[in-house]
Subunit: 229 residues, 2 copies
């Protein structure tokens, strides 16, 4: 009847995706069972298989929903910056900001579940299961090539394999920051009020990453911090 209000076509799908996002983040892919998941979503146990086919397909759908738009936004930002620059190479910091900003802004999006997803994403970079790694790699491939090219223009005196490693480090720092489980709280006395201030976090992160990415190559240039005490 009219009691159950609007049923926007595929509400069940959305409910499942939201619940999966949160539970995969909290318990991992194997730890979040179908029964726990469907109960939290308020749907029947068989709904996942009906709408997605299998649990693996659900995992893929969870990433599809967020990752494709997120990477599209990253590339759009980069395109816009390069257009504004009129052929000049971008500042490394601007490129870094284009890459991490899209993730970090989702942290504040607690209402729409963006926070859940971004933490899930951070954890997934170190996921052992091969199909999931393949999935993530496939979804990121184009974006990574695009950003590597931008960095190569911005940092012409950093060699290609050197740049590869620095992007690797950048990726690691970001993913760990996103995942930010309570491990860090237990390890180093976490200050919860900082965590939600994504603007301050972004400034700290961008500063840290920029310094690391633009640092002079050890073997080449003049002043390095080496030598030490």
């Amino acid at each position: 009847m009219t009691l159950r209000s609007v049923k926007p076509q595929h509400e069940t799908r959305r409910r499942i995706l939201d619940a999966a996002e949160e539970l995969f983040m909290q318990h991992g892919f194997e730890g979040a069972s179908m029964r726990l998941l469907t109960t939290k979503a308020g749907v029947n146990l068989a709904a996942v298989n009906y709408h997605f086919g299998s649990k693996d397909a659900l995992i893929e759908a969870v990433f599809q929903r967020r990752l494709d738009p997120m990477n599209a936004a990253r590339i759009a930002t980069l395109d816009k910056l390069e257009k504004e620059a009129n052929g000049e190479p971008l500042a490394p910091e601007a490129i870094i900001r284009a890459f991490v900003g899209e993730s970090l802004s989702m942290i504040e999006d607690a209402k729409n579940g963006g926070r859940n997803f971004v933490r899930l994403l951070g954890r997934t970079y170190t996921e052992p299961a091969k199909p999931i790694r393949t999935l993530i790699g496939r979804m990121y491939a184009g974006t990574m090539e695009r950003f590597k090219a931008a960095f190569a223009r911005a940092l012409p005196d950093v060699q290609s394999n050197e740049l590869f490693w620095r992007m690797h480090f950048m990726f690691g720092t970001l993913s760990y920051t996103l995942a930010a489980t309570d491990t860090v709280q237990l390890i180093a006395g976490f200050k919860p009020e900082d965590r939600h201030d994504s603007q301050a976090l972004q400034e700290r992160l961008v500063q840290f990453l920029t310094a690391g990415l633009v640092s002079s190559t050890p073997g080449s240039s003049t002043s390095t911090v080496r030598k030490a005490a």
Copy 2:
């Protein structure tokens, strides 16, 4: 008979620990089943419960075996450096080197399974299961306090909460580098020959981290890279 040679007291325990180390790294804690694990170790299915009590206790034992000596070595290195410095604060790079060197040297230890463990460790930092996070946090607590104090002396003009975040970033970069699953290969065109050159990797990593850790605070000092294009 004399056919089976020396049986050094607890060989079964060691075989189980080695197999667990590798399989936990490859498949995760839940993904590596007892049957798979005991088969690889060449022991009976019940051996884990007999020698360790439960699968959870085995997980804990896997970390105990490597983590305690590793952190002890980190602190010993730091003690030695500070003793040599005669009260002078250490160079930040030296502290970083003391921290990451102990992990990276294990990468080359393929024979004794050190590589397996260090990759397992990398992925465990983002492990969702609460008992495991608690375990890791407990095992790291003392070491982190010790290193935070050393960094605080080396970087007197970096505020405490600022320092916390930079150490957080450092931790993330290291753990991701250690985990270094094939994700990175799929994402960015991995060069396998680099991965095993742990010496070159350490130089790159130390350089990246040092630059990030000593970078000037945005709000305070004069020259920052900000502004950008």
